[in-house]
């Protein structure tokens, strides 16, 4: 039963993390290139545009939920399982979500990169 809780926790961490990353990417694309905006309008305008974007707050909320899910998962399962599993699956989940929801061109090169990094993280933390 504890094993099931651990994997449910990992699934929650990965889900919230992917939602956080994808919505943050969308929010920043809506805001525009921060460097160009800052040069043209100043840092105040950049901050105003970021904080007036509702998607940004969804992203921050999802990232916070991901963090708290990680804390709970760590209380159910071993860090040597939860850490690498969550980090690796997040890389793969982000690749799928970016292709589906952000219409990013995830070609063979990027799939290879996501898989290699996910495998590498699993080995490093394992």
């Amino acid at each position: 039963m504890r094993h099931l809780y651990t994997w449910c926790g990992i699934l929650l961490v990965v889900s919230f993390s992917v939602v956080g990353d994808v919505t943050m990417s969308r929010a920043m694309k809506q805001v525009g290139d921060l460097h160009a905006l800052r040069r043209r309008f100043g840092i105040g305008t950049v901050v105003c545009r970021i904080f007036s974007n509702s998607t940004f707050f969804v992203a921050v909320a999802a990232m916070a939920l991901s963090f708290f899910s990680l804390l709970f998962s760590l209380s159910w399962g071993d860090v040597s399982l939860v850490g690498p599993a969550a980090a690796s699956l997040t890389f793969i989940g982000n690749a799928f979500a970016a292709k589906l929801f952000l219409r990013e061109k995830v070609d063979r090169r990027r799939w290879m990169a996501a898989l290699l990094v996910a495998g590498g993280v699993a080995l490093l933390a394992g």
Binding site: V22, A36, N94, A95, A98, A113, A114, V117, G120, G126
Partner: protein, 163 residues
């Protein structure tokens, strides 16, 4: 990719790794925090290592947001994963910890992944509208589908990326 953009990606990598290390060091000094003693979590912020760690993680977040404003998520995440490698190298050569062959294999895999993504384009260009950001930005695309990237950038700046 300009030098400034490589610098932003380096910032994402270094600030995350350094921030995590500082927080880890600080929390070891603070000790265990339980739900019965949740107030000590606020006291932990007064620890210099934790405070510096929080500042560095805020810098990471700013760099991450900056990178996502001009690059794809599937480019930024693998490209900034060199932080894992950085941490392992610091552990081996600065802290003189033992790094097992399995971990060296992990470092090799991550480096390979970064190499794969670094050779490709950083942003998806949608042929129907000209740029990834303007694809989700109707205000920037109306009547500008055939305009050059510079013109589209000007339109996007003027409209603030809003319809």
């Amino acid at each position: 990719m300009t030098f400034r953009k490589y610098l932003v990606l380096a910032g994402v990598t270094v600030f995350a790794a350094a921030g995590d290390s500082m927080l880890s060091q600080g929390m070891k000094q603070v000790g265990n925090i339980s739900f019965q003693n949740i107030g000590s979590l606020l006291l932990a912020v007064t620890n210099p290592w934790v405070a510096i760690g929080i500042v560095l993680l805020l810098a990471f977040f700013a760099s991450y947001m900056n990178a996502l404003s001009w690059a794809d998520l599937t480019y930024v995440l693998p490209a900034s994963s060199l932080g894992y490698v950085l941490l392992a190298l610091v552990a081996r050569f600065a802290l003189h910890e033992q790094v097992s062959p399995l971990r060296w294999a992990g470092i090799a895999l991550i480096s390979g992944g970064v190499g794969f993504v670094a050779g490709g384009p950083s942003v998806t260009h949608h042929p129907d509208v000209g740029s990834a950001s303007s694809a989700r930005d109707p205000g920037a695309t109306s009547g500008n589908a055939g305009a050059g990237p510079q013109k589209q950038q000007q339109v996007r700046l003027a409209t603030g990326g809003k319809p």
